[in-house]
Symmetry: C2
Subunit: 196 residues, 2 copies
């Protein structure tokens, strides 16, 4: 139709998971809204982008440096949980079951996409292992790329005398066995634990 | 996490079809992007909202008034296709098979949601029927609300001596009969056409 609207639709369709049709629907929703929603959305994008920084310790996206987790006195700084993205960190925080700190890689090693060890925050993780760190939990995803990344990091860290662990692989809580894929199910059996 | 990021996530989750989790994913995508994408997205929302106006003739969302369709010399002004939203107009334009003009209602009559005839652009449609209009095509959706709206408009327009038509109801092109719902299928049989 017109230029400014076309530009908005084209920008919205660059967002992950947003196709041309959804972008169009969102654009018309934003424009048609009678309140000031369009302006407050526009401002909030600008403000968030301006105030967002990467934590210099763990690379978490934050508005303070170091981030809230790294600067907290109640967190156990001797355990580092390694995740690929900030959203994984948020997911773990939501469980309220983890009290250590994090390290955000900002991606996973993927030879297919040309992402190597130098393209993720691996070197800064190694620099953090100064002797005060007792354990590194590798919490990258359990797919090929997450596993490759975990294996790469484990091979670097273990010789430094730091305990390296991997998040458990198995059947999701509440899931039916029949819907689990073969790899998950065979792993769940192979990695079975004794009930005491 | 932090304020500006939380505000962005909350604003994004107000968009139709965007839940809390998707909003979070989009927010971190926007913030993490190394290019100026966040600023150009922010600007494009502001610009589109500022330059968007409703066409004073057909209520289409546009940046010029009258809109490109209403001000075109090659369109047949004697046929008005009535749609509920601008996105329906765009969908019909994409087919390149319609050469008349439009009237965007900006909604449909819905007693359930408290939307009455006065809340949609019905009065301005009636005002357009000045004798030069030969046909009004009612292209609201084929659900309950779209049908109610079409019936309401047909009852107003027909006594004025203007031909009123409704878009065809039937089996979608390329669709399998077995997947059509009962109402669609029985309508498709009842409204069957002779092959000449």
């Amino acid at each position: 139709m017109s230029d400014d609207i076309t530009i908005l639709i084209s920008n919205l369709s660059k967002l992950p998971g947003i196709g041309k049709k959804t972008a169009q629907r969102l654009a018309y929703y934003i424009i048609s809204d009678k309140s000031d929603f369009a302006f407050s959305l526009s401002d909030s994008i600008r403000n968030a982008k301006k105030s967002a920084v990467f934590c210099s310790v763990c690379h978490n996206i934050t508005t303070t440096d170091p981030c809230a987790v790294c600067s907290s006195n109640s967190r156990d700084k001797s355990i580092i949980c390694v995740v690929s993205e900030t959203k994984d960190l948020l997911a773990i925080e939501k469980t309220k079951g983890y009290n250590g700190v994090y390290h955000v890689l900002g991606g996973v090693i993927s030879p297919m996409k040309g992402i190597g060890p130098d393209d993720i925050n691996a070197a800064s993780l190694i620099r953090r292992l100064d002797g005060s760190i007792k354990e590194v939990i590798l919490a990258t995803s359990l797919g090929v790329e997450g596993e490759t990344t975990a294996m790469y990091l484990a091979r670097l860290i273990k010789p430094m005398g730091v305990k390296v662990t991997r998040i458990a692989r198995g059947i999701p809580s509440g899931a039916e066995l029949e819907y689990a894929d073969e790899a998950t199910l065979s792993n769940a059996i192979a990695l079975r634990r004794e009930i005491n």
